[in-house]
Symmetry: C2
Subunit: 547 residues, 2 copies
């Protein structure tokens, strides 16, 4: 007798990024994706956010493999953190594998990791699962979704997809293979909800090529184009158009150089006419013949574009005549740094083009009509919206309901929920597994949690105050010392600091308590006094010692 099939998202459901979905059957586990998430502005100091790997650590012997859908970091970037804790072979298409290997190498994990190259149209038998990748068009080549045969029917995980009928790389979403799954019977569809808020059909990547051609036609000087380092198709488009317009191209920035070198080696990036040159060589030719491709579309402080915008780039200064193209849209939460970067580029006199003005970028995710098309082709019995913030999942669910899937067959679940499927049907279990964020901060993985972030948010709001005083026989020794950071501007507020030192000394003198109690009592009295004086509530620490 076969055990129930379980589908367990450990990240990526009800949020954007850190995609990781567990499939469990007969004691075996496979994972679809293993991605990271970049922190929101309310996660101060956090470097990256991981899927919750607690369940994987607890079941490490049962994991048969990580199947990676494509080469974006929110789908494979957690591998270097999770593989050491929950090792298993990795399965990926050629380009995806290349991008994963770049990261594993950086973490010194390349040699210790077993990686298999897969091809769309393969069938990988692993434990009780038959995994059949299928091509999807997305903003990076070699993207696949997975059809997974189980005793209860096919489970189809779409990955991130659009139905782009004129993609740059010719890689269409494989409707035939999807139909073949449907013919065999799909028990559950997990489909990309990212653009469930957008009506209609996402424009094809082909319109970006057209927009870029117009940019090349008109730009009087240098063209500086920013895109994701993983957006190999976009880089290819730029090389193609630069070739046509007889311009030379420099690829700038560490991740851009690494990824493009790898993509070239694997044959995913072609420069037949040899337009690529180093930045040093590019500096020797006239501006009107030059193109720079770099990172920085998200306003990342250390990216090439942001350093140029803030006059911090060693080789490149933005000058009037430059045309800057930001060929990506801001990831939600990055709007402010992105806008600041645009503002600075304009301040330097550049002509700046971005998605709000002209279609120099299109989404890699299908809009509502495409989501409806996927649902219609696959015709699943159960539907699980996937990979978006909660409102997108809810809107995707409503869309599916409108297409005739009964609402009781649609599961809007979040990371940590468990769907169980058996002969009687499917249901969401009451019990959950840990699905919360796991934070990486510096060298620490998981040692910064919600309580630390709460403290940091408090510190950010009003700073902190340290009051230190020694006492002997119930009397303060000398004047108390007050130190602060992020509280008030010292030069202008010496009065307040003096007042707080006096208050502390007086309080210790007046309060009859041993040093061991004095600290806490002083903390609360000082907090009250500070609030009276400033209407602020800084974090307070007291150091009271009996000497």
């Amino acid at each position: 007798m076969t055990s129930p099939l379980r589908i367990i998202p450990l990240g990526g459901f009800g949020e954007v990024g850190r995609n990781l979905t567990v499939l469990e059957l007969d004691g075996d586990i496979i994972c679809i994706d293993c991605g990271l998430m970049f922190p929101d502005s309310d996660m101060p100091g956090v470097d990256i956010v991981l899927p919750n790997f607690t369940y994987l650590e607890e079941n490490v012997d049962r994991i048969k493999g990580y199947f990676i859908t494509h080469g974006h970091e929110d789908h494979h970037g957690a591998l270097p953190y999770i593989l050491p804790r929950a090792p298993a072979p990795v399965f990926a298409t050629k380009l995806t594998r290349g991008l994963i290997e770049v990261k594993l190498k950086e973490h010194g994990l390349l040699d210790s990791t077993e990686i298999h190259t897969i091809h769309p149209d393969d069938t990988i038998e692993i434990g009780p699962f038959k995994v059949e990748p299928f091509r999807v068009s997305h903003s990076i080549p070699d993207s696949v979704g997975f059809g997974i045969e189980t005793p209860y029917g096919m489970v189809v995980h779409t990955a991130e997809f659009k139905f782009d009928l004129t993609p740059v790389n010719g890689q269409l979403t494989d409707i035939r293979r999807l139909v073949s799954y449907a013919e065999r019977g799909v028990i559950a569809l997990l489909s990309d909800s990212t653009n469930a808020e957008r009506a209609g059909h996402t424009p094809s990547e082909a319109i970006v090529a057209e927009a870029l051609e117009r940019v090349f036609e008109r730009a009087p000087g240098r063209i500086i184009l920013a895109t994701f380092a993983s957006n190999i198709s976009r880089v290819q488009e730029v090389i193609n158009i630069a070739t046509e317009f007889e311009r030379k191209v420099a690829l700038v920035g560490r991740s851009m150089e690494k990824n493009t070198a790898m993509a070239m080696e694997l044959g995913y990036l072609k420069d037949d006419e040899g337009v690529i040159m180093s930045l040093q060589e590019l500096e020797e030719i006239p501006h009107e013949d030059a193109v720079i491709v770099c990172t920085g579309t998200q306003g990342e402080p250390n990216s090439a574009l942001v350093r140029m915008a803030h006059d911090r780039h060693r080789e490149v200064s933005i000058v009037p005549g430059d045309t800057v193209v930001v060929s990506a849209s801001p990831i939600p939460g990055n709007e402010e740094p992105v806008h600041q970067t645009l503002d600075h580029l304009f301040r330097h006199g550049a002509d700046v083009l971005y998605q709000a003005l002209t279609p120099v970028h299109v989404s890699g995710h299908g809009s509502r009509e495409e989501l409806a098309l996927m649902l219609t082709i696959v015709a699943p019995r159960y539907f699980v919206p996937n990979g978006g913030e909660y409102r997108m999942l809810a809107l995707h669910a409503k869309l599916a309901e409108g297409l005739g899937i009964p609402s009781e067959n649609i599961f809007v679940i979040e990371s940590g929920n468990v769907i169980e499927i058996d002969d009687k049907g499917a249901r969401v279990l009451e019990r959950t597994v840990p699905g919360e964020y796991i934070y990486v901060d510096g060298s620490g993985v998981g040692d910064v949690g919600e309580s630390v972030l709460r403290d940091r948010r408090l510190l950010a709001r009003d700073g902190f105050v340290v009051a230190a005083v020694n006492m002997r026989d119930g009397e303060p020794i000398g004047q108390a010392e007050i130190m602060t950071s992020g509280f008030v501007y010292h030069r202008e507020s010496s009065e307040i600091l003096k007042e707080l030192a006096d208050f502390t000394t007086d309080f210790v003198r007046k309060t009859k308590a041993p040093a061991s109690e004095m600290g806490d009592r002083l903390k609360s009295a000082l907090g009250q006094r500070i609030h009276e004086l400033t209407r602020r509530r800084p974090t307070i620490m007291t150091v009271v010692k009996e000497v």
Copy 2:
């Protein structure tokens, strides 16, 4: 001989909000607007941001008046902070005055402030200026721009405007009056750049009414509509449609209640059929007859909608069947809290409608075709884009250039710049006046500056560590004490804390230095040790006392 005319923005140029523009002639000053700005996410702990009033304080005797364009807080909300420091009469239309008075009353400043009601078509002679307000359509009734006659020609300040030909309140932008200025000769136009990124023409407020009617037609239960408390026109639309659909309306939230009561008293809000009732009364009627109008469109933590979304509202719980309408767009920088609010509303099973899905809101700012129309009608000699982030000013400038205004006659300036106009023409002076942000934090105005914010951002990133130890004769007394906040999670990191205490004690023992020097040396050594251990750089304070 007349002195030069100076135009000096103290806020609102190169940024959104805190609008305040100074006009100076023959020793006299008038101010257009006096608004506040809400802090960005990189201004932790800041409550509001003010225009820089240093120049006004220094020239307080010369200020003849504040002319306020409309009732949004980013145009008048700084009055309660600046009037005590730079008092002068306030001039505003009737509704704008009402909204200003609500705020002044809250600050106990109503009695001490001289306010004059103005009407579009008035001419107010004040010092050497003749100020002629003209109607503009915007998302609040009674909005005006100003034509100001000077010896050098008219200066036209458009305020925030659109050319809405079917506004709810019937108040059209007064093209005739604008033409009359043009006929007299306009030396300088200051025009609203907010939507300079948007092609075409902003849709009319009339389409919001249509969208809301469709919501009322379909909503099976309660309708909860969130808008700005100052958006009197939107509230009027809801009352009109509720009347038509025989629903009752409760206005919820302190600012919503205050503003609507005032607008009713002044005749700007009409409830002829008496559909408004208290929330208590509304709770007694069936959900399908009920409408709640409240604040919270920006995800403000204490607003009614956000409290409902997070199950923190005393009277209202969101239930399936509720239709929530968010009738505003997120102010840039507020996207995250807005999205979180939407997600929570969906989690409670509500049907949620917002601008991304359906036109339940339209912008109050004209798009590029309208900006071009304004430039064409007014035909100024000099043009100053105004009221937007830098990229919007730059795009507006480019638009004007395309319409034939020579680039040397277009001044893209930022807060603190000075434009001087005399018989020879206009120019931007090299000297500037203070234009930086002034922050309000708690009861402090201006005591938190960039350096304090920098400290707060550092604290937010990695928290802080306090190391305290007493010494005598070069030896530590007992074990050093380590206290932290926002650094590591204490329970799981007791090892690190122990290690740092040992390190501190050892360092004091080994280092031959008096207590006065020991603090700084320990700080730097401890910082290095912490970075080695954790790759983090918390703020460090040391308390080393010789006892």
